[in-house]
């Protein structure tokens, strides 16, 4: 190892600089390898390693045709992978390949600059995929590395240590931070300039407008945050009341449930959704939601929100007939909105009618045993007397006491999913339970539909935010009862009350790493660390990622400007720039003057003499000035000459005064010689 480090220390300067630059480029490109095709990552790694070997052994660079042909190969492969070379994904791949190929051509200074600027582009490309705190820190380090390499390239003398360039780069970044903060806070946030095909960049996860039996179970494995909630009231409602409404699924084809807005639902039914007709009973519960970018137009609100959520400027929301709030464009970035929900409410038509047809429709011939069970229940006189509510209760009772369980891995279901659940396996995830329940309800003739969304959440004790993750995705049922409208029934709660009531969630099986971590570090500590990290990440999201124009206008309001708009932002920015420039000019002017008070006094005298016609050079002592003045002006310069001699005496005395105060006063009252043309 010491031989390696000593070899490293003895490397010629060019080799050392090239190796450092390659390391920095690897830091910039590293996080991107997960998002570019495998061939691109492999080729980049080979190129960078090859260049490093060439630098280590001080071999010459390959000829131009080598890099030229590699470039052509990269463009061809990009075209093959993406069918285009325009667009974010292809563009990012091309930039990464260009950067790796350019390192093979580091011949002149101009090539080095191209490498640096391509490096800046890859830094930005990283942010297209993730803007978390971790990414930000990593990219900051990479940026400092790039700046260090750039400073180092401009130190041509000798072999300066890299630490020196690093120090300069860090100083520049630190001194530039106030400018960055001022611009960040005041630069107006403009809407996107042209349309962004956002789907390509990040895969959709989370809820979709359809549910196939088994799809929700995949979401349990996804631990990423779906949304964060902060309640206005410090005492939040119980976790069992937190149902976040997502898409409502009506059309069923035996295996999949579809929302009526989905095109696939057209094959099953052509009906429109029933009108909402929302009535609220309880006082409103206010809360603020920070929704991660889901690329869907759904605004997740707690059942049920009567008024539209307060969205940032330029965004509007509308309520679908199924009580779901939607925006007009997919949500492509973190969105924060304030909403008010009422936990006690009723909605839906009061009387039966033709609108009921899609909600009792079942594919013919499916789930025969469930149909038989339904007929059996309908024939029961005790249940018939009670009407539909009694039948619902009976079904729930069956779930409670029939030996059904709630599990993450129920196995593969056959085509008759409800039959499988009710009679064969008797275990399932929330989607199986909800689907089977809805099928039974429909078979009984009671209108039913499935509501998907999120249920519950976890309180972060560090900052008081409720974190709702993708693994909190849930499906429950709404049945229509005459006189009450749509009523929520959560069949999962009948089987596993813990799921709804307490903070228990099914834990996804941990991998090897997770198990090792759990044995080494205690789970509570892990959880606490995780809570702290999440709180930091949340704070990051709130303050930095979610810094929208609303926040900027709030800042202006705090500064005292009423009715602020973006022109005020620009004006404030301009004012800031102007005042900084004025300060700079004032400093420059202050620097130009000499600071010695004696010198300044002599300067004044010289200036006045120049106006009177005698130009004296700057280096003359007072005595010589007196002589020249007497020579030039004659007797009228006598008082001035005397004053100059006294100045000299005072300045060069054994104990000189610190400032020529008295002399300055005398100068004001001095008799000045008359102007004489030279």
């Amino acid at each position: 190892m010491s031989a390696f480090t000593s070899r490293l220390a003895r490397l010629p300067r060019e080799a050392r600089d090239t190796l450092f630059l390659l390391a920095v480029i690897a830091c910039c490109i590293g996080p991107l390898t997960a998002h570019i095709p495998a061939w691109a990552s492999a080729l980049t790694a080979v190129l960078l390693l090859g260049r490093a070997v060439l630098a280590w052994k001080s071999r010459p660079l390959p000829r131009r045709w080598v890099s030229g042909s590699l470039l052509a190969l990269s463009v061809g492969l990009t075209l093959a992978s993406y069918r285009t070379i325009i667009g974010p994904d292809a563009g990012i791949t091309l930039v990464v390949m260009l950067l790796a190929l350019k390192t093979l051509e580091l011949r002149a200074r101009r090539d080095a600059m191209v490498v640096f600027f391509l490096g800046f582009f890859t830094l930005l490309a990283n942010f297209l995929f993730s803007q978390s705190l971790a990414t930000a820190t990593a990219m900051l380090v990479a940026l400092l590395g790039l700046l260090t390499a750039l400073v180092n390239a401009n130190l041509p003398v000798g072999r300066p240590p890299l630490a020196q360039a690093m120090r300069t780069a860090t100083t520049m970044a630190l001194l530039g931070t106030p400018i960055m903060l001022a611009l960040f806070m005041l630069f107006p946030r403009i809407a996107p300039l042209w349309g962004v095909p956002g789907d390509q960049l990040a895969g959709r996860s989370g809820l979709s407008g359809q549910m196939s039996i088994g799809s929700m179970a995949k979401l349990v494995l996804d631990d990423s945050v779906a949304l964060r909630v902060r309640f206005d009231n410090p005492t939040p409602p119980p976790q069992s009341a937190l149902y976040f409404r997502g898409p409502v699924l009506t059309a069923f084809n035996g295996r999949e449930w579809y929302s009526l807005a989905q095109p696939e639902a057209r094959e099953i039914t052509w009906a429109a959704p029933a009108p909402a007709d929302l009535q609220v009973q309880s006082p409103p519960l206010g809360y603020e939601v920070t929704l991660e970018a889901s690329h869907r137009p759904w605004l997740l609100t707690i059942d049920a929100a009567l008024d539209p959520p307060e969205l940032p400027q330029g965004m509007r929301a509308r309520m679908a007939p199924e009580l779901q709030w939607l925006t007009y464009r997919p949500i492509t970035s973190v969105l924060r909105y304030h909403a008010q929900s009422h936990l006690q409410f009723s909605h839906g038509p009061q009387h039966p009618g033709a609108w009921m047809r899609p909600y009792v429709q079942l594919p013919p011939g499916s789930n025969p045993r469930t149909q038989a069970l339904a007929r059996q229940m309908q024939a029961d006189p005790a249940l018939t007397s009670g009407g539909p509510p009694a039948m619902v209760q009976a079904a729930l009772e069956r779930l409670r006491s029939g030996g059904y369980s709630y599990t993450l891995e129920p196995g593969v279901y056959s085509n008759d999913t409800a039959d499988d659940f009710w009679f064969e396996r008797k275990e399932g995830f929330c989607e199986h339970i909800a689907s089977a329940f809805a099928v039974l309800m429909r078979a009984l003739g009671i209108p039913a539909r499935i509501v998907t969304g999120y249920q519950g959440g976890q309180l972060n004790p560090v900052d008081g935010y409720w974190t709702v993750r993708q693994s909190d995705a849930h499906a429950w049922v709404e049945v229509w009862l005459a006189g009450r409208g749509w009523v929520r029934v959560d069949p999962t709660g009948a089987i596993a009350p813990d799921r709804i009531g307490m903070f228990e969630r099914l834990q996804a099986p941990r991998g090897v790493f997770g198990n090792t971590m759990a044995t080494v570090i205690s789970p509570t500590l892990l959880q606490h660390l995780r809570a702290v990290w999440e709180a930091a990440d949340n704070r990051w999201t709130q303050w930095v990622l979610n810094y929208t124009q609303d926040r900027q206008l709030d800042l202006l309001k705090a500064l005292g400007i009423q009715q602020p708009n973006w022109q005020d932002l620009v004006r404030l920015l301009g004012l800031l720039v102007f005042s900084v420039a004025a300060l700079g000019a004032a400093w420059a002017l202050w620097q130009r003057r000499s600071h010695d008070p004696w010198q300044r006094l002599l300067e004044r005298v010289r200036h006045k003499l120049a106006r009177a016609g005698l130009v004296l050079p700057a280096h003359l002592p007072p005595r010589t000035m007196a002589e020249r003045a007497s020579q030039y002006f004659g007797a009228s310069a006598e008082p001035l000459a005397q004053w100059l001699l006294r100045l000299e005496q005072a300045r060069y005395a054994a104990q000189p005064q610190p400032a020529p105060g008295a002399l300055r006063r005398k100068l004001r009252g001095l008799q000045w010689p008359a102007r004489k043309a030279p």
Binding site: F121, Q131, L143, L150, V151, M172, A173, M180, I190, V544
Partner: protein, 321 residues
């Protein structure tokens, strides 16, 4: 007078405004700053990053762009500060021969507490930069090659001090017109013939020598007043080995009777420059041999003498002729 382009007029007028000085303190008034090509490329990169941040609504993209912009602004200040406050001092240049490479010695003084990195000096327009790092509270020295174009007193051309230091995005430079003038000796003729014969001294043309003319060595006994060069040391060594302690010196009478005059007419050339070249070569030859010599040209008369001072006088006279 040939029509000069506007640019040349502008350059001349600008250079003429520079004060002639051997010592220059760089302040805000005489230091200029402009972005380089790389600076414009950085500006373009920042613009593209900003547009990408706006379009993809990336707050971190804004942060990156603004941090880079802030760093570039700070680097502008740092770049300017590298030259501002620097003191340049030109050492008086030595006289040089035309055609021989000349170097100018320039000292850079730094009174600041931080090092000034990557300061470059060159003759304005030459592109041959000499780099130096000036340590804190210290000085550094730089040598600039300078090719003289003709003989005589030549003014040193305008020098440029420049730095690109932190990021290479800004170019800070200052122009300096030194006051000192280089004395350029004429180029000695490469294959000059032997020195001309000595001419008899005035007034001693008829005096016969008492000494025999057969003595080729022309040695005689040492007389007080003979220079060290006149003593024949080989013989003296032999004499001392023999124990006699006597010195012999060369007979200067032969030389004392004749004087070496380097005359323009004696060169046998017609062109004045060729004459000067040959005379310069002869001066160097005579100086190498340690002879007494004088220089004669129409309008120029230098008395007999020898040594470095005589050489300098003659060469200077030839240079300025």
């Amino acid at each position: 007078m040939p029509r000069l382009s506007l640019r040349t007029h502008w350059q001349r007028w600008w250079m003429a405004r520079l004060p002639l000085t051997d010592q220059l303190l760089l302040t805000q008034r005489n230091v200029y700053i402009l972005p380089t090509g790389a600076g414009w490329m950085l500006a373009l990169t920042l613009l593209v990053l900003l547009v990408a941040s706006i379009n993809f609504q990336l707050n971190l993209g804004y942060l990156l762009t603004f941090l880079l912009a802030g760093s570039a602004a700070v680097s502008m200040h740092l770049c300017h500060g590298t030259l501002r406050g620097l003191q340049l001092h030109l050492s008086p240049p030595e006289p040089q021969f035309l055609g021989a490479p000349t170097t100018l010695q320039i000292q850079l003084h730094n009174t600041r507490a931080s090092t000034r990195h990557a300061v470059a000096l060159a003759i304005h327009g030459s592109g041959q930069w000499a780099w130096a790092d000036v340590p804190a509270q210290g000085s550094a020295s730089v040598q600039i090659a300078f090719a003289a174009t003709r003989r005589g007193l030549q003014r040193i051309p305008v020098l440029t001090a420049q730095t690109l230091y932190p990021l290479g995005t800004f170019r800070v430079w200052a122009l300096w017109r030194p006051q000192a003038q280089v004395l350029v000796y004429p180029r000695p003729e490469p294959g000059a013939p032997a020195l001309p014969p000595g001419q008899p001294r005035d007034g001693s043309a008829g005096a016969a020598s008492t000494r025999a003319e057969g003595e080729f060595d022309g040695v005689r006994a040492y007389r007080q007043g003979d220079t060290l060069r006149q003593i024949v040391w080989k013989k003296a060594a032999k004499a001392w080995a023999a124990g006699s302690g006597e010195l012999v010196s060369r007979d200067g009478q032969q030389a004392q009777r004749h004087e070496l005059w380097l005359d323009g007419a004696a060169t046998g050339m017609h062109d004045i420059e060729a004459r000067i070249a040959r005379l310069a070569a002869w001066v160097l030859q005579a100086d190498r041999l340690g002879l007494d010599y004088g220089l004669r040209l129409p309008g120029l008369h230098i008395a007999q003498g020898s040594g470095a001072g005589q050489r300098h006088r003659c060469l200077e006279a030839l240079a300025l002729y």
